[in-house]
Symmetry: C2
Subunit: 583 residues, 2 copies
């Protein structure tokens, strides 16, 4: 039988809560959901606990577990529930909400421990909870709202076997070493400023180089296929999103913009599709003009809860390498086909695998989506067929569609085996209709075009968070912000070093030179820490052999390999091909 990880981990969260109450009877429980790869429980402790308290809690969990041979549930009245949790304001707030929604109040019990809960557990915890671990402690505002009290969040995980747990913990250790927030600072890629604000990264020259190289690659793949760049402003009247339908769905996630000079009700754009449709709408279009394909890398803004912001993974200014194709129904296939080719080319070049999640609507909740049944069924069929024809490694996920249409989410795996939703071609039959877009068909009749949304990296910031960890900061040569570090062994070789720099820059290479007073060893160590692909060391030997205008350098790779003494042009020839083929 396949493990239901969510049930396993949610059950382990109950176990954690039980153990905490045995050790800290004054603690107040709040919520304890299963999450990707584990679970957490947010708890108000009478006095703060630290990581060093976790082993004792784990021990108590183990001890408690023995008696947990089942979960039983009972339904209670609002009154009863309020009585049980009279000393826990958090649970009382949850009860308020359950009552407001008209849902039943249920309690789940295992051993001596009972908790307010919607259910979703393993049948026999004592048997099935086999391998768990508490991982870390973090502060978390109640409900993620910084106006609320700060609680203690205990993270943990649970696996069906010890082997799986060990593997996961090992992966976590590796991930910690590769944490993009740490590498971002060590490699000087981006920074945050208190004055600018949370979740608003600023990119230094090296990080910007990385962004630009990736974005150029991403855009070139589409420009080659007829996509044309456009440009739109970042603020806009609220009405645009009322027309598109976004306002009803996401109105409260938008940054509101107030004009002090006019009465305009404005917002920061949370997506680009409505704007691109306004460009489409600026002229009468004919079937001869289609497909029309707009491309723009531009920033959107999401008013995330402060507590949810993290490094580049979750930011408030999100740059998308976005595009929108407008086409006839007959052209959907050809456009989807080319987007799949683009995705393959991009992620293969970056040494990342992917599988395709076909994100369809939830057939149980059609009210969550805009547009007619016929359109949805038709669109989902097209997507399914394309996935089959291309032999994609795919699976269907109902309920994951956008509100305006189904999509393919390319789930990309990184070096740690983690999976991320990045590229997403989305079919949209709804918005073009709402905006009244048309083209004149060959019979002279006005028709509504289909729109295909596509971002290849998705959010550049989030993509970078994944990619920095995927590579551990050892970027391939074509992407490395600094490709070659020039290391003169002493001040005597300053002039020579400058000539080497010039020769390499003439060949289009990105070069830095270490003119500090540090020792050769320290300079090599620094370049290695900076993960610069190649070092060119320059000293007496190199200068001596550099007759007849030929500059000699001793080359060392970042993995420590000594590539020997060569002429500058030999070195350039060696690496030029790697750059061109993106290695």
């Amino acid at each position: 039988m396949e493990t239901n990880f969510s049930n396993l981990r949610h059950s382990t969260a109950h176990l954690l809560a039980a153990a905490v109450l045995r050790l800290y009877p004054e603690a107040k429980l709040t919520i304890g959901p299963a999450i990707d790869n584990g679970f957490y429980y947010d708890i108000e402790f009478p006095t703060p606990i630290t990581d060093s308290d976790l082993p004792a809690i784990e021990k108590m969990m183990q001890k408690t577990l023995d008696a947990w041979d089942s979960f039983t549930s009972r339904e209670v009245s609002e009154e009863e529930a309020r009585k049980i949790y009279q000393n826990n304001p958090y649970k009382l707030e949850l009860i308020d909400e359950i009552v407001k929604k008209g849902e039943k109040i249920t309690l789940f019990k295992a051993g001596m421990f009972e908790d307010l809960c919607r259910g979703g557990h393993v049948d026999n915890p004592a048997k099935e909870i086999e391998a768990f671990k508490l991982l870390s402690i973090a502060g978390a505002y109640w409900r993620g709202d910084e106006k609320n009290k700060m609680l203690t969040r205990i993270y943990g995980t649970s696996f069906p076997t010890q082997q799986e747990l060990d593997l996961y913990v090992q992966q976590l250790e590796e991930a910690k070493k590769r944490d993009h927030r740490r590498l971002g600072q060590e490699l000087d890629l981006f920074t945050f400023s208190e004055l600018v604000g949370k979740g608003l990264p600023l990119f230094t020259p090296k990080g910007t180089m990385l962004r630009e190289l990736l974005n150029d690659f991403s855009q070139r793949l589409r420009i080659k296929r007829g996509y044309q760049k456009v440009w739109v402003p970042h603020i806009t009247k609220k009405e645009l999103y009322e027309t598109s339908g976004h306002w009803t769905k996401f109105g409260n996630e938008l940054f509101l913009v107030t004009s002090q000079e006019t009465d305009d009700k404005m917002v920061m754009k949370p997506m680009n599709c409505p704007h691109h449709q306004q460009i489409y709408a600026s002229k009468q279009r004919s079937y001869r003009d289609l497909p029309i394909k707009y491309l723009e890398t531009t920033t959107i803004y999401r008013d995330e809860k402060a507590g949810e912001l993290m490094g580049l993974s979750r930011v408030r200014s999100v740059t998308q390498d976005d595009s929108h194709a407008f086409c006839t129904p007959e052209q959907i296939h050809e456009i989807y086909q080319s987007l799949i080719e683009i995705t393959k080319e991009f992620y293969e070049a970056l040494d990342m695998n992917f599988r395709a999640r076909l994100s369809f609507r939830d057939p149980q909740s059609p009210e969550k989506y805009l547009g007619e049944d016929g359109l949805w069924n038709n669109a989902q069929e097209i997507i399914l067929n394309i996935a089959k024809e291309n032999n994609l490694d795919y699976y269907v996920a109902e309920g994951e569609a956008a509100f305006y249409g189904p999509k393919i989410d390319f789930m990309v795996s990184d070096a740690l085996g983690r999976e991320w939703q990045l590229a997403t071609p989305q079919l949209d039959f709804v918005q073009p209709k709402r905006f009244g877009l048309t083209y004149i068909d060959s019979q002279g009749i006005a028709q509504t075009p289909v729109m295909i949304h596509f971002a290849l990296m998705g959010s550049i910031e989030r993509f970078l968070s994944v990619y920095i960890e995927h590579t551990a900061g050892k970027f391939p040569l074509w992407l490395a912000p600094v490709q070659v570090q020039i290391i003169p062994v002493s001040e005597k070789f300053t002039e020579y070093a400058k000539r080497v720099v010039e020769a390499l820059q003439m060949a289009g290479l990105r070069v830095e030179v270490d003119f500090s007073n540090n020792t050769l060893g320290a300079k090599i160590r620094e370049a290695t820490l900076q993960k610069v692909p190649f070092m060119c060391i320059i000293g007496g030997q190199e200068e001596e052999k550099s007759k007849d205008g030929k500059l000699m350098v001793s080359v060392r790779a970042r993995d420590g390999k000594d590539l020997g003494m060569v002429t500058i042009s030999e070195f350039i020839n060696q690496i030029q091909n790697d750059i061109e083929t993106k290695h």
Copy 2:
């Protein structure tokens, strides 16, 4: 004696007002200032007037003028002023303000006409007002505020001689033909959308191509000189501008951003310098690292009054090709020198002349500026010396400095002889201090770096408004969004046309093809209207001669010149050099 144009035009505005009152005794006068190249008077008419009423008003002005041999003034009490203007709420509002500021209330009279006025007239209007003309009528909200009543604005101008007036009127006619708003639509460069909002242009593929080519050129000139691209978000905490000093100065011109999830008080960035300083501040800097030069083309936001928005000239989302250099005092000279070279190279390539306005502070109002006297004097001296050394055509303008330092404003002339303030290297001794920026000098002591702001085009939108009118949309080949229009004379040549397109695209040219059913004449007319530099016409003759894999085309330039039948590769060779040398 040199003409004081402001006095001449302001006096003519009085004359206009006098004539209007004689013709429309019920009209209510408001304000009538001199402006660049003319004057206007905002008037509330009992019933609307039109352009066709202007000749009669002009005639009355001429008739009135005879008796105007002087301006005399008198000071009146608040009470008296209120009595005089008891039926004019606009003048009463102006009186309120004069009183509030504690200024004197003065009236100026010529002939029988007296007006509330601060002064600034010619001595003898009858003699000195020699050549005037009323130009147009527009609606204008009282005080530019759309909540106020809409008034009628009459624009006019006045010159010392008829000859000068005729020349100016002729220039205006030419400008009307070149109006970038009209050309922007005809050439499909940009568009506006009611749903997006006023003053927020959206750029179509062709307009975006133009933006990008110009921006690439602008940035490359700096990248060659060691500037490095960075990236910053467009929203930020208000505190950043409180620290920089912008908030006190421009606080009410900013768009305010409200987070619905957090308490953050945020704004849309109105400039980029504070952000770039945060990147500088993210690391300890040494004198060895300087100069550090950041480059970023990014959009800022200005909450302009709706009534002041116009085409691309005055927009609410303003893209700057910005850069900031941080340096030691000794490096100012070298950096300024290179910025002057960059400016020369850029504007010469675009066939535009410039002179340099040295914008210094107003010695009468030192309180308007931040920073010590010594710093200001020193900075202004450096700028003056650099202007002299480079033999710039310069003049000093006191009172035109930024609040944080003096600057050079390059005043660029367009084909119509109009002058625009575009590139502006600004010296800044103030902000780096306010942000606590430092570098460690060779003695190990922390010093404050100097910052040099520089945007080459200034605002790309505004630059485009000037440049489109400068070229009348006939962009040089290297900048033309479409460089070659392929014109097959009939459907029979579709396949041949596609081969020509492919060959030209392989050579990196931007090509469009006209597959419509129009006649050859209509296709040529359309390409000419679109101001495409070259047309390649393809018909029976061309196909016939195209043996041995050589494709023949008949080339026609946009000025109508027939360049004859040539092979594709001959054509490419002919134009490639023009593109490379930016002709």
